[in-house]
Amino acid sequence: MTLDVAWAVDWTRRTADEVFARRSELNELDRQIGDGDHGENMARGFTAVIARLDALEEPLGTVGDVLKLIATTLMSKVGGAAGPLYGTAYLRAAKVSATPALDAPGVVAMLEAALEGIVARGKATTGEKTMVDAWSPAVEAAVAGSTGGADAAAVLVSAASAAELGAVATIPLVATKGRASYLGERSAGHQDPGATSTAIVLRAASDAAAAHGA
């Protein structure tokens, strides 16, 4: 199977729905160790993304076109740290996805590009209690899955599960990047909001793939 533009659009809508549904949860996670706006930022961004998707006069041609629309919208609407980080992630992902559909290696390349974008902008490595701690295991899991012969949808299942585990695994970490780092030791004991939203994004991708895999 491959994942086409319809999948990409469905992924986006599912991401938006889940971000809206978990907006307060993300705010609350950010309130514990940051400034309490991560849910708000993501919701504002995805509201604009959906508005732009809805306003499209003709369907987009490639997965990359969808991802680029998301990238530019998030960059111009989200602000904060998440805006440029997710913006760059989607932009880099778009660049390697200029095709009508992605197979498993295509999905891996897309996820790798996203992570590279985040690291290029944010300069964080794993263990710093940021969204990198969700993206990085997700990419590793995707690589392993694809190498082992999994199809695109299965690759996304592994990536999403790894991101979720990664997000939970940020709880004991002491932040050394982003706003939570100002708290020092006090940042331990709380789950990173950006890692949590990353898990949301990747689970939406996987759910959309499952729905389209029929």
């Binding site: 706006d37 609407k77 602000g79």
Partner: protein, 331 residues
Amino acid sequence: MKKLINDPQNVVAESVEGFGWAHADIVAVSFDPDFVSRAGGAVAGKVGLVSGGGSGHEPLHAGFVGVGMLDAAVPGAVFTSPTPDQIAPAIAAANGGAGVLAIVKNYTGDVLNFETAVELAEADDIEVSTVIVNDDVAVLDSLYTAGRRGVAGTVCVEKIAGAAAERGDNLAAVTAVAEHVIANVRTMGVALAACTVPHAGQPSFDLTDDEIEIGIGIHGEPGRRRIPLAPADDITEMLLTPVADDLALAAGDDVLLFVNGMGGTPASELYIVYRQARKLLEARGVRVTRSLVGNYVTSLEMQGASVTVLRLDSELTALWDAPVNTAAMHW
């Protein structure tokens, strides 16, 4: 949560609109993208100054747009850095042909969004230099953090670099003055009670009735440590000492002492803090030759204050004293 607002989503737009109407002699307000610039536009031949950041810190930054200070200010959502598509047009609006200095507070979001905006502006052939304000000594070791935050000291950078631009310094010189201020200004803050972000509807952190947060930033984040409520003189000492130590203040140094209110602290309390901070400085043989006391860099209605010290030399003093005509600072 009780606030004098309408829809939380419209807080920034409505507030900026009212601000623009109230100060139409000083500023012009643009919407979509939202930014504030000087009434009358960029000054030909003068280096332009742009700053911006999340809203909720008023009067920072829009209150400092005007002759002798900023050329444009970019308000983001509350406590959220503005986006490049707001910042880039503000840079363009501030450009009088001599280039633009972007004054950015050191937060990941602000730095990243300004970075992109500067790239966009440079693509339009505007020369831009950027300084990063990082005066908050509460953030101890930048090896383990995103680096020291930019807080109240930003006002000193904007005022003094603004005066340098106004007297005709070129971009490199204005940038150097700004860097000089940044190298010599330090701040530390305390919160007695958190603030409530409009969309959140609950306080940004929870404190019991006899706890305070030492080493807070300006985004309602919790501080470095939570301690029992103490007399103002003791709290002031906890703020002033790390600031003075970090600056390695020595007897005979001249300084600006700036006590900043976080939004919900009565002026009388700020002066009580000022009094003790001044006593402590004088006990070190440091001379307070300039003073500023008031709400300049706030966190909505947070109760608390910060103490900022800027080491002065004759040039910084002269630039500080130079005329300024903005909504929130005027002499």
